[in-house]
Each structure stands twice: as C-alpha cells, then as structure tokens.
Symmetry: C2
C-alpha cells in the first residue's frame, strides 16, 4: 500500500473574473499567496505523499498551465478530453492505481490555513481508510449560514467521542432558512470535497452505484476519448456519496475556504483597521471602509465608499458590492 | 481696433486625476469631446476672432502641449516663467497688444453648449467694451446652489430691460446656505471667468488698483522672468474686479460648465435610462444606477452599485462616490 494524492483540477471557474477566464481558471492563479492555488495544493500534500505519487487530473486544454506550474511526472498528469464532473475524474484517476493504494482526493483550488493540522487529519484519514471498508470525507464546522456549500449530516454526540463518525446523509446547497437551521443544530458540516479511500473500496462503490461508469473505466478496452464521450456527467457526491452507507466523516479544524468568490477572498485577507485591503502598487483609501482592491501593479484611489470590491487584471476591471460577488459569473466579459 | 482673444491656459488642474496631472492639466485633455479643452476653446472663438489675433498664455512647462495641440503663431504664445494667478497673466497678455484693441479673456478649459449664442454674447460684449469705459463680464444663471463658483451680484430688474447691467459686487465662493440664498434671490450669477475690455481701460484699472503690477508690466524694462519673480500672485477678480466700479455684466445663456470635477462632467454626458454612462471599450452595468465610467479602451463591469464614478487612465484608477469629486485633489497619486 502507498498513499496517493489525486488532485482535481478540472474546474472552469467563472466567479473570479476578471482574473479567472475559461482559458485560465482559478486553480492556475495566484489568489491567496505568491503561488498558484494548485501549486499550494501540491506543495502542501507532499508533507504526506511522495511527489511521484501525486496525480493531477485536468482538462486537456489546461495542460500548458500544469506543465508551467508543477513539476509532475508525465504519467501522473491525467488529461480529460472533456469535462464530465468529478465521478468520471475519480474513476479515471483510480484506474491508474493499484487496488490497495490509499487515495486522497483533493480539490486544486482551496485555501488551508493550518497546514500541520490539515496533514494530521489527512494522515489519520488515510490510516482509517486503510483499516476499514470506508470512504472518509472531511467536514468543516460552519461559522455562518452558507448557502454556497453542500453539507454533511452526522450525529455530533458521536463526534464528541470519536474522530470518525458515520455520515447520515449528504445535503445539497441549502436555501438560507435551511442553512440557518444547519448552523444551529451542530450536526451539519460543510463538505470540503476531500475524500480518502482505498482504491478497491471506491471501485466497489462505482460497481454498485454507477455500474455503467464502472464498466467504461475499469473493464472496457476503449481509449480515454471514447470513454469520456460515453461517460455520464455526474458528481461523486451525487453519484456515490449520497448513496453509499460506508461514508465516515472527520472534523477538519484547520481553517478552510473554497475561496469561491471575491467575497470569500475578502474574508481571508488581512484588513487594516478600517476593514480595507489592497494589493495594488499604490493605494489611497480616503473616507473609505470595508473595501478590497485586488489590482497588482496598479495605482488605485478609493474615495468616500464602503463595501466595494475592485479587481483589475490588465485592461479588465470589476467593481462590485461586497456580498454580491456570487453574481460575478453574470458580468464577466471574456 | 481689432478684437483679440487671450486664452488663459495656466491652470494646474488637480481635480481630474487620474487623467489630469501636474504635467498635463485638464485644458490639454480630451474631456468633453474628441478635441482637447483648449482646442475647443481656440476653435470656438475663431468664429469671432482672426486666428492671428488669438493669444494663449500658459506656464512655460506646458508649451509642448500647446505646440502639439494648436496651430499658433510663435509671437502669440506667451509663456509664464511661473504661475502667478490671473492678474499677472492678463497684464502680460495685454502688454503685447495695442491700446485700442478689444480683448476677450477666456479660460481654456470650460464647456460651452451653444456656440452660436456664445459667440453672439461675446460679439455684443466686444461692441459694448469698444464704445464704453467698461469691463464686461459674463454671468451664468445658477440652476443649483453651487459652492464651487464665485458669484456676480447685479440688480435683476435692470437686467430685464438691458443686456448690460452694472455689477454691484463680486462675491467669492459661498457656503451652502449663502449659495441657496443667491439661487433664490435671482440677483446673483456665476462668474464664468470671461472678461471683455479695451486694453486702455484695463491698463487704467491696473494703474489704479494694482499699481506695482502696472509698473512692472507696462513701465519697467525688466525681462519677463524678473517681472514674474517680482509680481504679486493675485487673481484678476480679487485684484481688480471686486474693486473697480466700471464692471458690467451680460447674461450668458448658452449652456456653460467649468467642468470643474468628475461630478460636473457626469452632469454633461448623455446617460442611459438607468443614469449610467461609459466610454469604455466594453461595459456591463448589472443592477447598477447613476454610475459613470471614464475608461477609454478598457473593459469594465459594474455590479450592484449606485452613484459611483470610475476613472481609469493607464495603470491609475479612481473610484469615488458621486457628489464627492471636489475631493479628488486629495487622493491623487502622481
């Protein structure tokens, strides 16, 4: 057995316009540090996984970014001929691995604050997955009624005693009222999209819940282009996690964000006493509060405003109200 | 007698940042049309004044812009070695003219909507100045309690009968309460900074109210650098207009703006039904009202905002609240 990482880098990111574009989605951008999100992800996991065991799966159109940004063995870069959501991506990934390998599936574009704690949770999860017929998922304790995430329901009284608790149910993104209920109950955790399992266990789940996909990826002799043409576009959550009864959750308390919008990024960055942030070359905030400027290399003056997010990338400029940046996908001009 | 135009282009413009800079103030920028403000001014006055009789006075540091933008006879470009406000500029200007010349003093950076009406008023004023021992000024009827302009007080009952009324008093920029009073009374007009007079009449006024300056410009044999070093820095309004008793006003009803701020420019431009304006290459306004974007060549998305002014010039960006742009002089980063 060895531990392998499978980093999902197929996202097409539309909420980080103007920085992200169809040709260069968020995972390939420097958003939370001087490294790109995928560089951060790969660097981080190597505290636990040998570099030769790190696999990246992504859309073939984005292979240039991966080759630019990562040192990765040729065989470990899995290129999808088309995007078909996470279930086919994971099937493709584990089809390259051995039955007794432990796989850590990681999104390529999330922020982790406390890397030591994160590695510790992954390590525990790998051990648990190695010794049990279980798929492990990491739950993040909500601190607000977020409607942008899926939720994992567990029994928190068990969680007080054990690191790993059986998952009662996966829930899709709730409305605000439901999200408030989830927040108050204490039994609901954010689904961070991280899964840890033995290859044989996941293959069994595919065989049971997505049998067509199982045959395509693990039995047919078709080439990958043909396989993807035939594969159903479905998420691992919907295709397997919501149906399997051997899912266990561990609470990840390491400071996590999916950095899913400019608002989410505003929450992460270090603000001044007026709640303002800027990464511009020169900035003046005059009579201005709770504003963020993402405009590297530019000179920006903001005057007499509150709760504004400004993003400048080359000749493209976004100016929007804080709290509305989920809507950025509707204003992007590519 | 001939009619000469003296265009004052010495302004240092700080309220049009980031477009205007110390090196290139507003008069040398394209603000209200495809021509620069000073090109507009010179073009316009030539309906009344021969091109060989158009004089421009400006800071020596800006001569490059004038030579780039205007076809002007070398002798008609008067370069000030340093900025000393409008009284020395006018003294310098008329020192180059004949005693019986009629001079029209014009700011170089104002907007005129109805050029025919404007030329008509200037022509009437030149005739009046030719036949009377009078300095003529043009008053603009206020349509709001503007605190950014000086005011001219007259007796409006006379104005109903005559084109030219004696000025009772010049008033400096008022506070808001006073500005409301001015607006209601009907006896107060905005001082557009346009003056029409015979050279001999103005020289007499200098001799009476600014005798030191009179001696410097009209009697001494010093070179212009020495003269400017010694000259008092004072406006023609404060130095002469407020003191002389032969000032007459004519009402100019031709659509005027000093375009003194981004707010003033917002008032002038043609907005869409939501009150938005943009000159950017591509613009999306989403759920946005009463915003203006001055960002030629850029791609701009504004989302969920109201009453914002955005200006982009190269790598410099200003984002400010409508109604506060008088304050831009305090945020500029040169």
């Amino acid at each position: 057995m060895s531990i392998k990482a499978l980093i999902l880098a197929g996202g097409s990111g539309t909420r980080f316009w103007p920085k992200s574009t169809k040709d260069k989605p968020k995972q390939f951008l420097k958003i939370t540090s001087d490294k790109t999100m995928i560089q951060e992800t790969v660097d981080r996991v190597q505290y636990l996984v040998n570099s030769k065991d790190v696999y990246v799966i992504s859309n073939a159109n984005h292979s240039n970014h991966i080759l630019d940004q990562l040192k990765i063995e040729k065989d470990n870069l899995l290129l999808e001929p088309e995007g078909k959501n996470t279930a086919p991506a994971i099937a493709f990934g584990i089809s390259q691995m051995n039955s007794d390998d432990i796989v850590i599936v990681l999104p390529s574009d999330h922020y982790i604050h406390d890397e030591k704690s994160y590695i510790n949770v992954l390590k525990k999860s790998a051990d648990f997955a190695s010794n049990n017929d279980a798929i492990v998922t990491i739950g993040i304790k909500p601190n607000k009624p977020e409607t942008g995430y899926g939720y994992i329901e567990v029994d928190k009284s068990i969680l007080d005693k054990d690191d790993f608790v059986p998952v009662k149910r996966f829930h899709e993104k709730p409305n605000l009222e439901t999200a408030y209920h989830y927040l108050e109950s204490g039994n609901f955790f954010w689904n961070a999209g991280i899964f840890i399992f033995k290859v044989s266990v996941m293959k069994k789940a595919f065989k049971e819940f997505l049998p067509d996909m199982y045959r395509l990826f693990f039995e047919s002799k078709k080439d990958i282009k043909e396989i993807y043409k035939l594969a159903e576009s479905i998420s691992i959550d919907y295709g397997i996690m919501e149906k399997a009864n051997n899912i266990f959750m561990i609470h990840g308390d390491f400071g996590w964000s999916d950095v899913g919008s400019w608002d989410a990024l505003y929450e992460l960055v270090e603000k001044d006493k007026d709640g303002n942030y800027s990464d511009a070359k020169d900035t003046i905030f005059r009579d201005t509060k709770n504003c963020a400027v993402f405009a590297e290399g530019k000179t920006v003056a903001i005057s007499h405003l509150e709760d504004i997010i400004v993003v400048v990338d080359g000749d493209k400029i976004l100016i929007t109200k804080r709290g509305t940046t989920q809507d950025v996908k509707n204003v992007k001009i590519d």
